[in-house]
Amino acid sequence: MSTPLPEILDSTLQNIPNLTFTVQDRHRLRIELHRDRLPALLELLKGRAGYLHLSAISCVDWPDTDEFELVYHLWSYEVKTLISAHIHIPKNPGRYISVYDIYTPAAFFERDIHEMFGVYFEGALDMEPFILTEWYGPPPMLKSFSSVDYVKETFKWQEYSPDWLKDIEEKGGQVVE
């Protein structure tokens, strides 16, 4: 580690066991930890280190493993550092606990992830459809969902055979897809 951590952050992180972190940049810190420790980490970061802003929760569906990766992005206006806390949860049953009680903006992110990936957050404010209110299929952001196949099954296509194309086809040419 080239850049030392701010003192307050260093003492905070020491409270969480089995935590690995990498300083990626002067303003970026990557933390990997066990899923059971995440709420404790968020409590500490918010309560003691001034990380007041949960800017996003992102979800990654790794196709080769049986796990979702959840990334909690936290920003501190005091030390001007972005922390991304990475945890892994098993795809089956795909449940995790909500952090709505710590960060209220989590309600939207969790609702969105539930809709797009099917992860259920226990204790979340609302797990109803958010953007995809007209959607009855599987969670569309999953790697197992093929958008192209769905589109080919569901929609019909406009026929496209203009005159100039017929002329070309007569001479043995074609439109390359």
Binding site: S147, K156, W157
Partner: protein, 233 residues
């Protein structure tokens, strides 16, 4: 004594008179068009130069209008998500006839660059009748002006009658809509009653799909379709 002026014209004459009146009405109509101020997708960015001083569509008699009930043209300016399509259909049905739909950009023709998206529709003409397409991604303001001129010509010549198709083939349009929104989809507009009112009630106005409409009829649907017409028990 039978007055020459007040005589009842015979059928052929009447239709001839109506034809002349229609021609005059169409001629006037083509020179006063209001575009509904409703934009989807990226094409909205091409509209300000078309409407404002740069290309100035007002000199053609085309202006934006804020409410669907007072607009003539529904301009679909790009891709339509399934969620937006619902709103577009609601808006379209609120517009007073005669109404014209212009599909702008490749997205309304065949999905465009979003062809592989699960969330967007591919062919607009399956859901509402389209009078004219402006191809391109996006079409330039010049192309839009050209399209407007062509539409004016079509209206003037009495060729822009796609809105009638919605009444004649309502069952088919509704079927496509139901395929996306589920069998209980219905709008507050009683299209079948409107079709009767405009005397555009055809063989394909009602069918299997409108039967579902009767089944799930909400309080907005004024009259359910009698079973002997639909052909179900």
């Amino acid at each position: 004594m039978k007055s020459e002026i007040c005589r009842t014209p015979d059928k052929e004459e009447r239709s001839l008179l109506r034809q002349v009146l229609d021609k005059i009405a169409n001629h006037c109509r083509a020179r006063s068009l209001f575009i509904l101020h409703y934009c989807t997708g990226c094409g909205a960015i091409e509209l300000p130069p078309v409407i404002t001083s740069r290309f100035d569509s007002e000199r053609l008699g085309i202006q934006p209008m804020v409410t669907p009930r007072q607009a003539d043209i529904l301009l679909i300016t790009g891709y339509l998500s399934i969620k937006t399509l619902k709103r577009v259909i609601l808006t379209y049905e609120q517009m007073a006839a005669p109404k014209y739909v212009i599909g702008m950009g490749s997205c309304t023709i065949n999905g465009g660059m979003y062809w592989q998206s699960y969330a967007t529709i591919k062919r607009l003409l399956e859901y509402i009748p389209v009078d004219m397409y402006m191809a391109g991604c996006m079409p330039r303001p010049e192309a839009m002006q050209q399209g407007f001129l062509q539409l004016m010509d079509n209206i003037d010549n009495g060729n822009a009658n796609c809105w009638k198709d919605y009444y004649y083939n309502y069952d088919e349009y509704l079927g496509h809509q139901q395929a996306l929104f589920g069998p209980d989809w219905h709008t507050p507009t009683d299209v079948i009653a409107e079709a009767r009112h405009y005397q555009l009630f055809g063989e394909k106005t009602i069918g299997d799909h409108t039967a579902l409409l009767a089944k799930f009829a909400s309080k907005y649907v004024t009259k359910t379709i009698p079973n002997h017409i639909v052909g179900v028990n």
